[in-house]
Symmetry: C2
Subunit: 293 residues, 2 copies
Amino acid sequence: MSQANGGPGAPAPGPLAILCGAGAFPLEVAGEARRAGRDPFLVGVVGATDSAIEAYPHVWVRMGEVGKLFAALKGRAIAEMVIIGAMTRPEFADLRLDWGAVKRAAGLAQLFRRGDNGLLAGVAAIFEREGVRVVGAHEVAPRLLAPVGPIGARMASDEDEIDIALGARLLGALSSFDAGQGAIVAAGRVLAIEAAEGTDAMLERVADMRANGRLRLAGLAGVLVKAPKRGQDLRLDMPAIGPKTIEGAVKAQLRGVAAAAGHVLILGRERCAREADTAGLFVAGFGHAPPAG
Amino acid sequence: MSQANGGPGAPAPGPLAILCGAGAFPLEVAGEARRAGRDPFLVGVVGATDSAIEAYPHVWVRMGEVGKLFAALKGRAIAEMVIIGAMTRPEFADLRLDWGAVKRAAGLAQLFRRGDNGLLAGVAAIFEREGVRVVGAHEVAPRLLAPVGPIGARMASDEDEIDIALGARLLGALSSFDAGQGAIVAAGRVLAIEAAEGTDAMLERVADMRANGRLRLAGLAGVLVKAPKRGQDLRLDMPAIGPKTIEGAVKAQLRGVAAAAGHVLILGRERCAREADTAGLFVAGFGHAPPAG
């Protein structure tokens, strides 16, 4: 760490890089960071990041332009970075490796082995080795975290709470497998478990199963439960929900969406609450003790 | 039990009812039972069972015609039954309850509560209460069980064995949740976990993710692992693979299909082996100690 901290583990003041994946989440984090007095510098990935990041000081890099990225950070004396937004796992062959990447080739090659946790942990290690501390979006923008309790008008019923607890136990049992961060449970029955397809595709699957009669449930039924994996580095890969999640939950005719309080980011919280209210769904954080890990 | 047994747990000789779900599996079991000297009597469910069962002595019942079913069994002095083939979980409102069903209404109502294990265990209990012993397809047709090792020309590689072991551990961790019986693992990464959608839909999902670039894997990659849930009553709901599974695995460009030896049925074994050989996949049983219940 090349900068003094406000306290142990607290984000340093000063400039903050935001490595931006796809979607609107990076901009929301940038806004929160600026409100907190930080000076955000956004790094866009060509082909992935929304061009709206250009509203902030920014640089564009291609996947693999590691040298260009570090030069941009060092030129601005940036010692902290948030990684946020959806990233497609790249194929090694697609990378445009620059000299800065080739110099770090051994470390990069190790990234292309295992599950997502391994990939992201390796990315973080490479940054930290260069003196850039990777911090979590929740550290620079804690207002984006799921609270305990509902964010809209509806609350989870007692029956919903039982499904939420079952989903949370299921995700806990799965979490050492570096698989998914979500499951859908209806009245004690596990309808869907997320792996590589992601939350949106899982919601779509439940909507399809209800439409084609494979799942026959009356009215609103089922709860989407989101929680981090055991040992998941929240600085790198925090589970998140947003308006698209709510839209998917509405199409799947769920009763609600439950996110581990303090461990899941909520993007577009007001819009999420409004859309859930309109459809009669609850969106709520549930008390979550991270599993030992 | 109203009939003498050949030994503890061994199927009694004499007539055997086969309650037939969808697909060709019931006919295969009937053929094996006849080869073993049993006298199969097939029960078709209107709207679900293939009419090909009419090649055997049979009766058709509608969902809910419980009285008619028991009368047919008693009229033929049948004291043993196999339940086999895909069954859609019926909605209570769709049942055509006859007087025999109404008499047993309390027991039937309890079936419409929880996961599949609960449903099937309740069905079995109702039959046993009427003096009809429910036996497993594996007891009357053991030649349909997955062996240890390959059924075709290809064998699992050492890397495949690592994926198979990971998939088996994952299914073990999940099994107390009465969810799925399958997962797809590629080089240590969990690609898909089965719940209510079933194995065929899970295979299709992986094929789709590879086609749309969400999963970028080179060549044949990944293994489908099938194993029973903990405490799963194999008489009622034994995991099964068949030519459709192989077809799905080929479309998903998997390296192979692995089934818990002695705990998974293989339908159309020769066709499975032939189609897997043609596509360069392995189909193999793996040594499986059933998890403590």
